[in-house]
């Protein structure tokens, strides 16, 4: 599975807008993840996960920055996220099922903030792109 040229164009152009609200998007996606899927909080026992927490904001920023890195190297996501892939495989070891959950919450967040841009085509492109990112991050698990 790889992105078509049209899909790449959609992602890159939407990212221009999304990145201006990167912190808000990242934080909200995580809030949605922890709220809808409380089991995901088990990976953050060391965090204060209350709404508005500085740690949540910082981590949300980090996550969105990584997505941004993937967008900037959209022709080589595996290369761009290689270190992060190793981190997830050998250190963090987040169960692969959780990447789908976070991807879904990112989609919900982007859809609610950018409804006019989030056409059916854009929805499809984003879903595909986030699956690719998820696949890259779990590639080295075994």
């Amino acid at each position: 599975m790889s992105l078509t040229r049209a899909e790449r164009t959609i992602i890159v152009s939407m990212w221009g807008k999304v990145s201006t609200q990167a912190d808000i998007i990242g934080t909200e996606a995580l809030e949605r993840l922890f709220s809808s899927y409380p089991q995901t909080k088990t990976y953050f026992p060391h965090f204060d996960l209350h709404a508005g927490s500085a740690q949540l904001r910082a981590h949300g920023s980090k996550v969105v920055a990584a997505v941004g890195d993937a967008v900037k190297s959209i022709d080589n996501v595996a290369g761009a996220l290689s270190k992060l892939s190793e981190l997830h495989a050998y250190v963090l070891r987040v169960d692969p099922v959780n990447f789908k959950l976070l991807s879904h919450c990112l989609l919900v967040t982007v859809a609610s903030h950018f409804p006019a841009d989030f056409t059916a085509d854009a929805h499809a492109a984003w879903d595909k792109f986030l699956s690719i990112v998820s696949r890259v991050l779990t590639e080295k698990y075994r």
Binding site: Y37, H104, H123
Partner: protein, 147 residues
């Protein structure tokens, strides 16, 4: 059984009152077919599904989406007995339509995204969380009589 608090149930119902069930049904079904094109396998008689635009404007998709969401709406009135409410539909989807229940989960999540797109910041994390319980509840009820 879906475990929602009284507050969550009220919030779900209140939000649903703001939803244009006809339109959202068509939107959700259309997006299912666009985002997960393999789901088109159930709709070969629907006509032109060749592009996102064709799908989203397809009259059969809109009509069927409306039907599906009306059913979902009915479910929202019977959150304490989803299995009973969807028993007959479950048998239909298994015996006549031969639909893999995974498709109900996919549609549930597409519906959540469409709600977010339509309701924007009204679709708070708490509301999403409630709907993320309702949607799989309906999906499981639809899968319950599979054999």
């Amino acid at each position: 059984m879906v475990h929602l608090t009284g507050e969550e149930k009220s919030a779900v119902t209140a939000l649903w009152g703001k939803v244009n069930v006809e339109e959202v049904g068509g939107e959700a079904l259309g997006r299912l077919l666009v985002v997960y094109p393999w789901t088109q396998r159930f709709f070969e008689s629907f006509g032109d599904l060749s592009t996102a635009d064709a799908v989203m404007k397809n009259a059969n998709v809109k009509k069927h989406g409306k039907k599906v969401l009306a059913s979902f709406s009915e479910g929202l009135k019977h959150l304490d007995d989803l299995k009973g409410t969807f028993a007959a539909l479950s048998e239909l989807h298994c015996d006549k339509l031969h639909v893999d229940p995974e498709n109900f989960r996919l549609l549930g999540n597409v519906l959540v995204v469409v709600l977010a797109e339509n309701l924007k910041n009204e679709f708070t994390p708490e509301l999403q969380s409630a709907y993320q319980k309702v949607a799989p509840g309906v999906a499981n009820a639809l899968a319950h009589n599979y054999h």
